[in-house]
Amino acid sequence: MDQPDAIIHQPMRLKIMAALKVLPETELIEFVRLKALVGATEGNLGAHITTLEDSGYVQVLKDFNGKRPRTRVALTKQGRRAFEAYVAYLRDILDQPAA
């Protein structure tokens, strides 16, 4: 990889991906909990989640918990692979001698 993945490289999306990567593969996190974890506003997080979803990196599940609507997010396999490749790319840069 010569260039960083532009989707993941954006600072807020990087935080979102890092937070989701920690969860077990099939685990979903509630939107409100993710918002607190990455320190985003609701609108900002929603926009970035949409970008990540359009790229196939996250999946969004909307359902009801009792009568309360909830939105949950999880990393897809494709997203997990892309994030791992991005981290490997960063480590490669650090392994190279500084210019």
Binding site: D2, L14, A18, A19, V22, E27, V38, I93, Q96
Partner: protein, 182 residues
């Protein structure tokens, strides 16, 4: 444009910081229902021990069985993916029971209060160790359990079971609610 060394290092630092925060939050959320369950069981177990000390052994046997079944069911309901039996959680539980049983077998406590204090002390310190790895709230919860147990043992020995039922049970339940809100 390729990233510089500094930019790559900054990005990796940010990833590490976020992963650490998410790891703690996930641990808190996973542990919360178990703490609430065991808070209720402590309340029932120590409360019954205070009321009918002669039946304490039977009461605690029942508590261990209920706790084992309850923790297993909770692990199945709150674990990732579809509900299924978690050998990992069950094995951790068996290891904890074996550890406590072997400590009691070797130390041979001479009073019920000693047994009633040793178990929460081991549990409390286990939370402190877990917290060093997983997050500050576990450390605080562990230290609270240890401090309250020691206070009850040394200053309220005549009412130790009642103290542990009310204060110990409430601490576990409160900690569970606190972790759930994290």
């Amino acid at each position: 444009m390729p990233l510089t060394h500094g930019e790559a290092a900054d990005a990796l630092r940010e990833i590490s910081k976020t992963e650490r925060r998410a790891f703690s939050a996930y641990g808190y959320k996973s542990a919360a229902p178990f703490l609430i369950l065991w808070g209720c069981l402590w309340f029932a177990g120590y409360g019954a021990t205070d009321l009918i000390p002669k039946l304490a052994n039977w009461v605690w046997l029942a508590i261990v069985v209920i706790g084992t079944v309850g923790s297993t069911v909770l692990g199945m309901r709150t674990g990732p993916g579809k509900a299924r039996f978690s050998w990992r959680i069950f094995s951790i539980w068996l290891a904890a029971l074996a550890a406590l049983s072997s400590i009691i077998a070797v130390m041979r406590p001479v009073s019920g209060a000693q047994i009633g204090a040793v178990i929460p002390l081991v549990v409390g310190w286990a939370y402190v160790v877990l917290g060093i790895w997983m997050g500050l709230r576990f450390v605080i919860a562990g230290l609270a359990i240890v401090a309250l147990t020691l206070f009850g043992f040394f200053f309220l020995i005549a009412h130790f079971s009642l103290w542990m039922a009310l204060v110990g049970g409430a601490t576990l339940i409160g900690t569970g609610l606190w972790l759930r809100s994290a």
